[in-house]
């Protein structure tokens, strides 16, 4: 694939990361914030796999990407369980409404 280099993938990763950061910063919905985190993790994964491919080391980048995917699944499960728990107590998942540790 001539013409497509490491920089192309890094730029895609950078744009996805920036959009994910914007999502995390502006959303007030806890699930929206989790979606932003997923975007950021995907951007990091693109970088891992791209660096691994272009650095010539066989599969290290891909192994790291697999671990990141696993941790993202774990994070989403726990995060959404917490969100549902918050919703049961506060009737809302707006992060500005849920400012009390005890209800």
């Amino acid at each position: 694939m001539e013409g497509i280099g490491l920089t192309h993938f890094l730029v895609v990763g950078l744009v996805v990361f920036a959009l994910g950061l914007y999502t995390v910063l502006t959303r007030r919905n806890a699930i929206g914030i989790l979606m932003g985190i997923e975007l950021i993790l995907n951007a990091a994964n693109i970088n891992y796999v791209a660096f691994g491919r272009y650095a010539g080391v066989a599969a290290d980048g891909q192994v790291f990407a697999i671990f990141v995917i696993m941790l993202a699944a774990a994070e989403a499960v726990i995060g959404l369980a917490v969100v549902l728990g918050i919703y049961q107590n506060f009737e809302s998942i707006d992060v500005e409404a849920t400012d009390a540790l005890r209800y």
């Binding site: 997923e38 975007l39 192994v63």
Partner: protein, 169 residues
């Protein structure tokens, strides 16, 4: 421009556009479905990087698992028709400035650095190498991953169950 290059640009544009949909959509259900597009686009980019196993894992775990979970959470928690409640976003301008600054610095780093690029490896199936790495040098993190998943399984049940204390009822 060969077909593969054109396809790369198409998938990259698809990824970026759907990611923008996640960030800017006014309805959280649309955000969730945009996220599905982003995850598919990233899986396609993995294929361009000759990472077939990671691409398959991305589709199975992210789209089959995480995205379905997110959609469940959206449907369970919301008066989803109400746009203002479902996907309010605040502080757009300061966030935009901050993100633009971060992206500028990172973009300069990406574009100015002369990344050392090794000659590209042959595009072989990656499962053999990934399996060897997972059960060789990375066997300890691999085992820890199973422990993490077990504790997440238990933890999610503990967090989300209803409290039933004997004294209360």
């Amino acid at each position: 421009m060969s077909l593969s290059v054109a396809l790369f640009y198409a998938f990259a544009a698809f990824t970026v556009v759907t990611a923008a949909g996640v960030a800017f959509s006014r309805n959280i259900v649309y955000s969730a479905f945009s996220l599905m597009g982003t995850l598919f686009g990233v899986a396609a980019l993995y294929v361009f990087l000759a990472a077939d196993f990671v691409a398959a894992a991305q589709v199975l775990v992210y789209i089959g698992g995480i995205l379905v979970l997110i959609l469940f959470a959206v449907m369970l928690t919301h008066r989803i028709a109400d746009v203002q409640v479902s996907n309010r976003s605040v502080g757009r301008l300061p966030a935009l400035v901050l993100v633009a600054g971060v992206a500028l610095v990172m973009g300069r780093a990406v574009l100015r650095t002369a990344w050392p690029v090794a000659p590209a490896l042959a595009e072989a199936p990656s499962t053999y190498a990934v399996g060897n790495q997972l059960l060789g040098p990375y066997v300890l993190p691999f085992e820890l991953a199973s422990f993490v998943l077990l504790s997440v399984l238990v933890g999610a049940i503990v967090v989300s169950r209803k409290e039933l204390r004997s004294g209360r009822d």
